[in-house]
Symmetry: C2
Subunit: 233 residues, 2 copies
């Protein structure tokens, strides 16, 4: 039987944990083959010191069965990058599963793949989803038909196991969760704005203000382009 191809999109200044969480899960699923897709085969520099090594270019990538898009600061430039948005739109039309984590769902949105779908996103940028006809959901992992989206950064691990269960069944997903010893114990209960103290939220939003402004601007431009293309498909 042919392997299920999981195509993971890599781009400059992606957040590596958005990508590595799901990769650590997907890479260990029997019957699945991961392809890391990027503009070129050159090493992709993530935010910070991490790098991703693509296995295939957008041009050479076969139709994938599962399309995955991470987020991170680099998502802002991707929103108006025709080559990457075009790849995601093309692949997303025929993929069995169209998925993203963190602000990667905004990229799915810019590619016209979330119109009429419920979706998750990093909590700070979730309110940008309606620009693309998507309904933002305050939930760690959101399944809506074949669209699967996760919240910010670390949600990629929960997303990875949840999707793995659908791809290879519960027993294999459970076995992998035990292998990766995924029984989290966060030192603080502050991973969502509803749970963090107000000072922490205010402080973080203040520091992120410039980033969020640039993200809004990119989302507005991307939404305009999408509307000009019609459905974007």
């Amino acid at each position: 039987m042919a392997k299920l191809v999981i195509g993971m999109v890599a781009f400059e200044q992606a957040t590596n944990l958005d990508f590595t969480g799901p990769l650590e899960v997907f890479g260990k699923l029997a019957g699945c083959e991961v392809q890391i897709c990027a503009k070129t085969r050159d090493l992709v520099a993530c935010e910070g010191l991490s790098v991703i090594r693509p296995t295939v270019t957008f041009a050479d990538c076969p139709q994938v069965d599962v399309l995955f898009v991470p987020g991170g600061p680099g998502q802002i430039d991707v929103m108006t990058d025709d080559e990457t948005i075009g790849f995601v739109a093309r692949q997303g039309q025929a993929a069995q599963w169209v998925t993203a984590v963190c602000t990667g769902s905004l990229i799915l949105g810019a590619a016209g793949l979330l119109q009429g779908y419920r979706a998750a996103c990093h909590w700070m940028s979730r309110d940008q989803l309606p620009l693309f006809g998507a309904e933002p959901v305050n939930q760690r992992v959101v399944f809506d038909r074949n669209r699967v989206t996760g919240g910010g950064v670390t949600a990629g691990i929960d997303f990875g196991f949840a999707l793995a269960a659908r791809l290879v069944g519960d027993p294999a997903a459970r076995r992998l969760q035990l292998a990766l010893e995924y029984a989290p114990e966060p030192p603080f209960d502050c991973g969502l704005p509803e749970r963090a103290d107000p000072d922490t939220v205010t402080d973080l939003l203040g520091r992120a203000a410039g980033l969020l402004e640039r993200r809004w601007a990119a989302s507005r431009t991307a939404a305009d382009r999408l509307n000009q293309r019609g459905t974007g498909q």
Copy 2:
């Protein structure tokens, strides 16, 4: 004020999530500088498709303030690799914090750095710690004086935030936990053998038997060498 240098050891066939979880935290701490240390500056191929790009060679690395060692299948070869064990032993003698995640704690053990210390490890290999004079602890993150160790793979994220709180204070660690949206919701409650159903545990242990046998053999050899060196320091 001089930055706190966090030295993260990279080696072939490390588990990338062991490394990337803590890196995503450490890389965003004010007043800290991460160095990725390896034998050469060449790209390090992890287990699966991930790669790590070193920033400094063992030979050129200054004394670090925080020493971090990941685990993974490649840990087995590291146990008897004089160059890597020598680097870890040297750095560990003067570092303010000596840390590891997953089977990285066995590497600390092989370097003579856990004698008389309590330590965590991946649950499948925790029982190898006594070979190095360490007391295994069934706990997600273990602080014992300046030794800080985490359980398997995903424990690196809990470890990262817990250590960050000690390095830069609670408010900054909380802010980062909110930024990385770390409010985990595992799809299953099976990340530890005590919580998983017996079939899952048996199945996984069966599949891991060969790996565990090789790991035991490497640990015995490493323990013999450590004993021959005296305290190993």
